[in-house]
């Protein structure tokens, strides 16, 4: 795969996206510690290149379906840090005004068609959105992001089969971070590569990539989207990556063997991409400016979210049904 022809503007966009996600996820963690984020949250620190690579490669009207670990994909489609942090904090400024929370980020105007907290559930839903695009004759592509753990649930297999039989414009992206929650994926899976090794079952090519290399992810995404838009059907892509933190807020990740985190920190997608851009001749000041702008946006978003009002209690009773309310009787 040739990634050398990726234009500099695109590479800077990839870098900017990763930095914004990195900063925003770290801030989300800080806000937990201040007890300003309630409930749970699943950070994508270390997995930024997958979100950036696919997000930058997408068309504006493409569909994203992600999991409870979905902050990075939501940001990568252009949802503001304010709207994401606001939702984590249960504020009026949040994407869903506090009705969904961290695990259900949704921003339809940015193509984020929901974050799904039942493992694997969104793969068939993404296939359905792709069916709709195919039926309506648009060139939209639906992408479902999921963890390695999702490859062992029935919905994964049902979605893959249906998508291949119907030749749907859908891309299934496995973010293999090595762990299904707390358990090493290898200890509970019949094959070494939980997604890539199953591609043949559905007549798909085996695609296994370095999910920490934004260039590789971006190029792979472009190829899959081109195939889908040309009527070539679905792709299944396994991205090897690593979760820097535990599964969720409650998990310090102590089950990981000594040295493993350190090894993967050497392959940090954000740090290594910065080095690559510098080696390619990008001025350091350009990258520093991107970093500073991301941090400034984040700081402003954080303050605005803290100042945002809490949702009205009455809103708990809205939007159960299409009439805007919750009435189940006359």
């Amino acid at each position: 795969m040739s990634t050398t022809r990726i234009p500099e503007a695109t590479r800077l966009a990839l870098y900017r996206q990763m930095m914004e996600i990195r900063y925003c996820e770290k801030r989300a963690y800080d806000l937990f510690l201040q007890n300003l984020v309630k409930g749970t949250s699943h950070l994508a620190l270390g997995q930024e290149a997958v979100a950036a690579g696919f997000g930058v490669a997408m068309n504006k009207d493409d569909y994203t379906f992600c999991t409870y670990r979905g902050h990075h994909h939501t940001l990568a489609r252009g949802a503001s840090m304010l709207s994401v942090l606001g939702e984590l904090m249960g504020r009026q400024c949040g994407l869903m005004k506090g009705k969904g929370g961290s695990m259900h980020l949704t921003s339809v105007e940015h193509g984020v068609m929901g974050s799904y907290a039942i493992v694997g559930a969104h793969l068939p839903v993404a296939a359905g959105a792709a069916w709709s695009a195919q039926y309506r004759g648009t060139k939209q592509v639906a992408t479902a992001f999921f963890g390695d753990g999702a490859t062992n649930i029935g919905a994964f297999h049902e979605a893959l089969n249906l998508a291949c039989v119907w030749k749907l414009p859908v891309v299934f992206v496995c973010e293999n971070n090595g762990y299904m929650e707390y358990t090493p994926i290898g200890s509970v899976t019949a094959v070494e590569h939980p997604a890539a090794d199953r591609a043949a079952s559905y007549g798909l090519p085996r695609i296994l990539i370095d999910g920490n290399d934004a260039d590789v992810v971006y190029q792979t995404a472009c190829d899959a989207f081109d195939k889908a838009r040309a009527g070539g059907g679905p792709s299944l892509i396994e991205c090897l990556t690593y979760r820097h933190s535990g599964h969720s807020r409650a998990d310090p990740g102590k089950y990981r063997p000594k040295g493993e985190v350190e090894e993967w920190m050497k392959k940090d997608p954000v740090v290594s991409y910065r080095v690559r851009l510098l080696e390619a001749g990008v001025a350091e000041v350009t990258l520093d400016e991107i970093d500073a702008a991301a941090m400034a946006t984040l700081d402003e978003a954080t303050e605005q979210a803290k100042a945002s009002p809490l949702p009205e209690i009455a809103s708990a009773y809205t939007d159960v049904f299409a009439d805007g309310g919750a009435a189940w009787r006359n």
């Binding site: 569909y63 379906f65 994407l95 869903m96 005004k97 009705k99 969904g100 259900h104 949704t106 921003s107 339809v108 068609m113 929901g114 799904y116 039942i118 559930a121 969104h122 793969l123 068939p124 839903v125 993404a126 296939a127 359905g128 959105a129 792709a130 069916w131 709709s132 695009a133 039926y135 309506r136 639906a142 029935g154 919905a155 049902e158 979605a159 089969n161 249906l162 039989v165 119907w166 809103s315 809205t318 939007d319 159960v320 049904f321 299409a322 805007g324 919750a326 009435a327 189940w328 009787r329 006359n330």
Partner: protein, 326 residues
């Protein structure tokens, strides 16, 4: 007006809406080329073609998941789950995904789809192909629940369900599929959430749903002719929205209320109906409300056993007479 069977009325309702709205598509196991295992979709594949009427693999998760994704992005899918018992396979989509997405997204997303499914006993299929699970659906906020008792209602309510902007579970009763009645020709749409008062009497109010409606009617006729008991019979048609105005008005008029439910006893739909009546019409009641239900058991297969446990005309008559002391 033409005499149509319940099953033909289902396909007539679907065809009516597919002709009217190109966004309406249909998917399910054996639903397209074969016309459905219950022959409720006969002719649709031929009329509307393979892009709008699609056969699926035996993949209940994929069926409801794909229907949901399509509904969220501009289509109006009708998804068929062959037997309502199989809803248990894809209950995540019913309970967690389809029903909650509008709410969780703060109204950004809508899921206008219909899940059609064959419900109920009478075919001697045993415990995994005969259940009445309308009460499962009723327990989930965000769903509408429809269960017609005759062919005309099947056509009119199905058309309404397809047009409805909310997700609807539409229970087609297996034992009613061959029943015929006059069904209006041309475009026919009934409102959701409006019960039908099928006969009026002053001594008792019998509230029924789906296959229990013809039994309740027959029981009411015998009660009037042979036992001097004049009963009102209400066909709920929908559990959500629930027409509590009609329920409460007719409960208050007679003061003696009976529910006839095919679902098993615990948390059956009648439990909620009774709860509403006792809270809101208590002073009008002249005696305890009686629930006539299938007992809380899995359904047996043998015909004499199945017939013994599903509320029958004889049991309705006996229970009403006992309660009224006549």
């Amino acid at each position: 007006m033409a005499q149509l069977s319940y099953r033909d009325a289902v396909s007539a309702g679907i065809a009516q809406e597919m002709l009217r709205d190109k966004r309406v598509v249909l998917l399910g196991e054996d639903s397209a080329a074969a016309g459905g295992v219950f022959k409720t979709t006969v002719g649709l594949f031929e009329q509307f073609g393979p892009t709008r009427v699609r056969d699926t693999p035996i993949s209940e998760l994929a069926i409801l998941g794909a229907a949901m994704g399509a509904a969220m992005t501009g289509l109006r899918p009708i998804a068929e789950i062959m037997f309502s018992d199989f809803l248990a396979c894809c209950w995540d989509y019913v309970a967690n995904e389809i029903a909650k997405t509008r709410y969780m997204s703060d109204g950004q997303l809508e899921v206008p789809l219909v899940i059609r499914t064959a419900n109920g006993a009478g075919s001697r299929f045993g415990a995994q192909h005969s259940q009445s699970v309308e009460n499962w659906a009723m327990a989930i906020p965000g769903l509408k629940v429809v269960a017609p008792s005759n062919a005309a209602d099947a056509k009119g309510l199905l058309a309404a369900a397809i047009r409805d902007p909310d997700p609807v579970i539409f229970f087609e009763h297996k034992s009613l599929l061959g029943n015929k009645c006059e069904v209006p020709d041309g475009e026919y749409v009934l409102p959701l959430g409006q019960a039908a008062v099928l006969r009026e009497g002053g001594d008792a109010t019998i509230i029924a749903l789906a296959a229990m409606v013809p039994r309740a009617l027959k029981a009411a006729e015998t009660l009037a002719a042979e036992h001097g008991i004049s009963a009102t019979v209400i066909d709920l048609r929908c559990l959500v929205p629930l027409d509590t105005k009609t329920i409460l008005a007719h409960s208050a008029r007679t003061g003696r209320v009976f529910t006839v439910e095919e679902n098993p006893r615990l948390c059956g739909w009648g439990a909620e109906v009774v709860s509403i009546i006792q809270e809101e019409a208590f002073s009008s009641l002249k005696g305890p409300i009686v629930r006539i239900t299938t007992p809380h058991i899995p359904l047996p297969s043998a015909d004499q056993l199945e017939d013994a446990v599903i509320p029958s005309v004889a049991r309705i008559i006996a229970d009403v007479r006992k309660a009224l002391g006549k």
